[in-house]
Every structure is written in C-alpha cells, then in structure tokens.
C-alpha cells in the first residue's frame, strides 16, 4: 500500500480512466482506438489501483476468477459474432445497413459519424475489449501475487 497522496489521486483518477477506456471501446468504429486499446486502458486503471492499494486490499475487490469468466465471455462472444455471419462467410458483417442494432445506413464521405452504424464491428470491439481488459488485468493481478509470495515467504 502506498502513501495517502497516491491513494487520493487514484481515487480521483480511477473512474476517469475506466470511463475513458470504455469510451475508446465503444467508439472504436468512429475514432482512433478499438477493443484492444480500450481494454489496455481499463487494465492500466486496474494496475493503478493495484499499485496504490496493494494486493492484500485489492484481492477482495477484483477476483481473479471473475476476470477469467469475463475473458472467456469475451473470447466466446467474439467467435460467436464471427460465426453469426457464417451464412455468407466467416466474419461477415451481417448487421451492417440492416436497420436493426448498429444498423443505420452509412453516410458516405467526410462526416462526424453515427454511433449506431458499423453492424457487427462494435460488438466485436466490445468482445475484444472485455477479453483484453480481463486478460491484462489477470496478468497484473497474478504478477502482484507472485511478487508478494516471492518476497514474503
């Protein structure tokens, strides 16, 4: 556990980092970024809390098993979304321009962008984002646990 200054700044910054990470994931089809980048940002937020509060406090907040479940959900839904377009090909963008979820017609040319376009790409973005944030988060947690065990006993 680090000093009170670090913990206070972490309390202020943590929510902003999470919101920014989920924003990057959500707007992956409009702005620079996407699933991998947003997931890495969220995982860096987890690493910040882990360093500020130490492993003993954090292990009650973030469970490694929950992160494993989240990662599996991300992987399975990524392949699942890819398989949903199997009527045409694997990884076919079946939702694009369909009028349903994320299916608004595309505006061609230079435009600010519509969040409700791009078909299956935002779903894949979310799947990969969940996978990356859970994967990197569990790597950080495991390494912190290993350091603690290696130092202490």
């Amino acid at each position: 556990m680090m000093s009170k200054i670090v913990r206070t700044i972490t309390n202020i910054l943590y929510s902003s980092i999470l919101i920014f990470g989920f924003y990057v994931i959500m707007h992956g089809h409009l702005t620079p970024g996407g699933g991998f980048q947003g997931g890495a940002v969220v995982a860096s937020g987890i690493a910040l809390v882990l360093i500020a509060y130490g492993y003993d406090t954090i292990k009650n907040w973030i469970k490694k098993s929950n992160l494993s479940i989240l990662e599996s959900i991300g992987a399975v839904s990524f392949i699942g979304v890819a398989f949903l377009g199997i009527g045409t090909t694997f990884f076919y963008n079946f939702l694009a321009n369909s009028g349903s979820l994320f299916g608004n017609p595309t505006v061609i040319g230079i435009n600010p962008g519509d969040l409700n376009t791009a078909g299956a790409l935002p779903l894949m973005s979310w799947a990969v984002g969940l996978k990356v944030l859970a994967g990197l988060g569990s790597i950080v947690l495991l390494m912190a646990y290993g350091i603690k065990k290696g130092d202490g006993e």
Binding site: G28, H29, L30, T31, P32, G34, G35, F36, E71, A75, F78, I79, A82, F90, F91, N93, A96, N97, T106, I108, G109, N111, G113, T117, A118, G119, A120, L121, M124, S125, V128, K131, V132, G135, L136, S138, I139, L142, M143, Y145, G146, K149, G150
Partner: protein, 88 residues
C-alpha cells in the same frame, strides 16, 4: 551429422531472407498499391464504418484479430501456469 543439418537449415533460411531483402520495394513505395486503394475507397461503404483501421482489423482481417486474441489468451495461460507454483 547434426551440425550439417543445422548448417543446411541456416543456409536455407538465410537464402530466403536474402531473397526477400533483394525483392523488397524501395523505402516508401507500397508493395500492394491496388489493395490500399481498394480499402480506402470501399471500406466506408462495405464495412459501414468511418474508421478504416477498425474495418480492416475486425472485418477484412477478422481472422487475424482472432489470432491476436489467441496470442493474448496464450499469454494469460502462460502467466497463470508460471505463478501456479507460488499459489500452491
């Protein structure tokens, strides 16, 4: 005998590397200009995204992204296995 096999393998690999170095395009010129043009002109219409990079990563080269996800999964499994001894 083993040394000869290793030397032969080294020759083959370095030969392929040399071949690719000789056939490399000069700096700055794209190797597949038609493909770049196609992505830039059609990505917005086909993948229905404003971000061409995302349309390539998740649509045109989706299989590649699946491989990347597998790499990350393998990394997590490897770290878990590495620290399994400490947990027990």
């Amino acid at each position: 005998m083993k040394n000869y096999i290793a030397f032969g393998a080294l020759l083959v690999v370095s030969g392929f590397f040399l071949l690719s170095a000789i056939n490399m395009h000069s700096f700055g010129s794209p190797s597949e200009e038609d493909m770049d043009r196609y992505f830039i002109e059609n990505a917005q219409e086909e993948a229905s995204t404003n971000n061409v990079v995302t349309s390539i990563v998740f649509d045109y080269r989706g299989f590649d992204t699946l491989g990347e996800a597998t790499v990350l999964f393998t990394a997590v499994v490897g770290v878990s296995l590495l620290f399994r001894r400490l947990i027990k």
